[in-house]
Symmetry: C2
Subunit: 223 residues, 2 copies
């Protein structure tokens, strides 16, 4: 693992990395008492699955639609009755996910003259709402939506290189999603896996350049 990595731009994944997708479980629990945690886990799992499968099938729809479809399936699988009106507060909650507690301070410290960007599966509308709610700003907010394909398809990482005008090796990419880290490493980014819960890495042929448990631990690893 590299102890010091030259990084000209820091690029962050949004869902699960800066924003806690499990924080939606509170809204889920209000609607379906006793089922909030299970519903939010399954919702997230289906959301990812649908993004991968639709990219493979060449049948892109934007992340908002995928998120809504995944919610519907997750509820049906758990035997929970979701009406259009009960779906709305949950979908709205996805635009106001809780930011992880260390993000704001860590982010200020990490900037230090570097470019910063988000690269997310989220549609522009979802991302802008999320960032506005959190009061975070970036030099670039890049949604895969302009390519009509989701991560970890290589061209999605290519959007960063194109937009920021730097080479892949100069990008420090930060994600808590291991599959995203694998895709970004495969593309050629320097990668930092945020492993908040002691998860086991997946076996996809690529390892992160560094593993940390919080965003604020990245500063000491880059120069």
């Amino acid at each position: 693992m590299a102890s010091s990595v030259p990084v000209r731009a820091l690029v962050f994944d949004a869902y699960g990395t800066l924003f806690d997708v499990e924080s939606i479980s509170i809204a889920c629990e209000e609607l379906f008492p006793g089922k909030g945690a299970e519903l939010s886990r399954r919702w997230r799992s289906k959301q990812l699955e649908y993004s991968w499968l639709r990219t493979l099938m060449g049948r892109y729809v934007e992340f908002e639609t995928i998120t809504r479809d995944a919610l519907g399936t997750a509820c049906r699988q758990l035997g929970l009755e979701l009406t259009p009106s009960s779906a709305e507060p949950l979908m709205a909650g996805y635009r106001k996910l809780r930011m992880f507690p260390e993000v704001r301070d860590a982010f200020s410290a990490l900037r230090m003259g570097r470019k910063t960007a988000i690269l997310s599966n989220g549609s522009p509308g979802m991302l802008n709402a999320l960032l506005e709610h959190a009061g975070l700003s970036f030099d670039a907010v890049i949604s895969v939506d302009e390519l009509k394909t989701f991560k970890p398809f290589p061209a999605t990482y290519g959007l960063v290189v194109k937009r920021l005008g730097i080479s892949a090796g100069e990008v420090g990419f930060v994600s808590s999603n291991f599959w995203d880290i694998a895709g970004a490493t495969s593309y050629g980014f320097r990668t930092f896996w945020i492993n908040r819960n002691g998860s086991q890495p997946d076996e996809l042929g690529f390892r992160p350049h560094a593993v940390v448990s919080r965003l604020n631990e990245i500063g000491q690893l880059i120069s």
Copy 2:
């Protein structure tokens, strides 16, 4: 749902459709008492996930490797210690999965002058071992391995059209994996979803032409 569909060739998925991937849970249970069912479920889930992600990343490795990698991850995630020698009987078990009980009779009845084929993610070595063990034979055994990409990437379904020399609309495609059915329907096949356990369909923009609970129910739906 079409009640009568003209079908010139019947093409079957292998894993989960003709062969019971959960039958490996017996070998898992012998090795890790009390954990067999959970391990086999997670193993299968990781196997699919890795096949999708590696295709998206453009980092194909053959299904045997993916199956082995998925087994390793599933064990680590469950805190089970897998040694190289204990992995072997499990990997060997994947070449001798139990055939679903109705398959042999249903298959004879369904042939009726039609071409039959398998289209599978499995590597040729795995597929041939499986079919030999079961004593089943097909006009064509098609592995995605020749494309170095996994289902549901559209070109994988295109292998069938090319090999059998018929049009997509003349193919009746049979799978118990809903995501596979979605991919095949999107490609233009007539699709039959084998839903043995009353599963909820996924929301991927495509529905099967028919849903049955056993293979032998397909005969009355095709002409």
